[in-house]
Subunit: 342 residues, 2 copies
């Protein structure tokens, strides 16, 4: 398990915050002395920031099954000396949570101050809290849910099928130096369509055209609209960095998680929690984890956690808002930790 | 140009209705003596139905560029004896409209009673009315728009790229007996995700599982959820029937259409219309042509057509509702034609 930390654990070991990331980010949520490059939540974690490293010991784990240091399908199976690939067992978010729990135990932390999970990480966080009642005092869910709706399952199923349909995927036995990039790029574009919002793209791109180049002017299907160029740029940036099999496993794990499987119903799942405070943050324009799911999650938490808050943010950038609309999220997180952020 | 008709043209030639279909359907909108198989709008067209063939002469054209009888990229170029393929010129919905206009003229009809367009066909219908003011007295737009929003462009762009990324597409020179079916199937699944609605799938599938078969039980990425099986069935039904190059051309034409290009602004586009009545029908759960676009279209029409109505239908089945939720659409269409439908 790869993880990074910011800030010191106090003598009482009572100030630790555990962060579960979404499907694709690494444990590098913020810069540090060891790695000064920007992290995926750079503006959220640090001295004087909402997750204040002067006050808290903040831990971010790379999910089990991912490819940024934690064991996953791209890791070497010591029994064979080869990558696990599809020999890796079916992965669940309960596994992801359990692996993180072991990290926390090894760090000598009996009870976390707070578990925070973003997107898929919110479900990993629920799994953590439901399987280890009392192991965290507080829980924050950001743009997540009790379980995926069929539309989100369909999106991810199609992303996986696109990757698996690339001949270079080769039933999971791709050449690591020549991975199924075409499939990964297409899957990423589909992802971006659900991570952002139609409303944002109307404001940002409208029907703006790109300039045709010599190369494209005679190709009727080349990029013509700015929104197409935007997706192309995002596909180019992302696709080389993520192992395709790891992506498939984590994507399927996101489909499979269902809080209702903990006890037979959502209600019984919620009843297994033992939390002091809960905060659910959702975004009005989120397609992937829509507002109705934030409301369902908050209502379920409120039935068992006296101090539960639901914050509906009117951000235009959809599901990804927690990564790109920091000005909206920072005050909410800051307030939860009774910080003094400006 | 392939077209079908139902009902007789009256002596005054004043009772003709022209239907523009969406991207994929043929001219076979309803059964007839010549072809008794069900059409794509079987419950809408016929004696005593909202488009009453006892009163009206109803014409449905297969769009120029399609592959069901009208000339398109899959047609044989008489100059070479080979299919046009990507040698077919860039197609616009103005071309689609103009080809239909020629059909109507050949039939000896100077003025249509009504032009009806569904989805892409609504934009073809707008092109018809804006380029031939007075050629139709009335216009009905169903789940269409003045032009595509960037989200819809992104969806179609990705569908095209998926097909073009299938090695069997072969830069448009695919073997007609071995077309890029994998790409077409994936593109169709993406289509279905935008033709229906997340709300429908919650009601219809929820998180219902399929039964694992011997074949699938050891494949972690095989179909596990009913929504995945549903998409698989739709992909299987559709993909063999539509020529991939025709699909690409019509899909791109849907991106390109913009009423504002008729005169430099939407306002000037609308001003070119010469209509007596207009009806805009939209559906609350439509992702592809959302309600805000219905409202924009109706507002623009209302500025130039005194008798303009907007009907917002609260159907759950999204963009496809006009094909599958006949009980909601029939009364609205019937009312427009002052019919007596039960």
């Amino acid at each position: 398990m790869a993880y990074e930390t910011w800030g010191e654990l106090n003598a009482e070991r009572s100030n630790a915050i555990l962060i579960f990331a979404g499907l694709s980010p690494s444990a590098h949520a913020a810069s540090s002395a060891e790695d000064p490059s920007d992290g995926w939540w750079e503006d959220m974690i640090g001295p004087g920031l909402p997750l204040d490293s002067d006050q808290f010991h903040i831990i971010c784990v790379n999910s089990l099954g991912s490819c940024f240091g934690s064991t996953g399908p791209a890791s070497i199976d010591p029994a064979t000396g080869e990558m696990y690939r599809l020999g890796f067992p079916v992965l669940t978010l309960e596994d992801v949570a359990e692996a993180a729990y072991q990290v926390v135990c090894k760090l000598g932390i009996e009870q976390l101050h707070t578990v925070i999970g973003c997107s898929m990480g919110g479900m990993s966080g629920l799994a953590y809290c439901v399987n280890h009642p009392g192991a965290a005092r507080n829980f924050i869910s950001i743009s997540s849910a009790t379980r995926a709706e069929p539309f989100s399952i369909a999106v991810r199923s199609l992303q996986r099928e696109i990757i698996r349909s690339d001949p270079k995927w080769n039933s999971g036995n791709y050449d690591v130096d020549d991975p199924p990039l075409i499939g990964q790029r297409l899957a990423r574009k589909l992802g971006m369509m659900t991570y952002r919002s139609p409303e944002e793209w109307i404001q940002r791109f409208g029907r703006q055209r790109t300039t045709a180049t010599d190369e494209t002017v005679n190709d009727p299907f080349s990029i013509r609209f700015s929104v197409e160029a935007y997706l192309e740029n995002h596909a180019n940036k992302f696709s080389g960095g993520f192992d395709p099999n790891c992506y498939l496993y984590l994507s399927r794990a996101s489909d499979l998680f269902d809080l209702a499987e903990h006890g037979g119903s959502l209600e019984s799942g919620f009843k297994r929690l033992d939390l002091q405070r809960a905060l659910v943050i959702g975004v009005t324009t989120d397609i992937l984890f829509p507002l109705r799911q934030q409301q369902e999650l908050a209502a379920g938490l409120a039935a068992v956690v006296l101090d539960t808050r639901l914050i509906e943010l009117d951000c235009i950038r959809g599901h990804d808002s927690f990564l790109v609309d920091m000005d909206a999220f920072r005050p909410v997180i800051c307030d939860f930790f009774e910080g003094d952020c400006d």
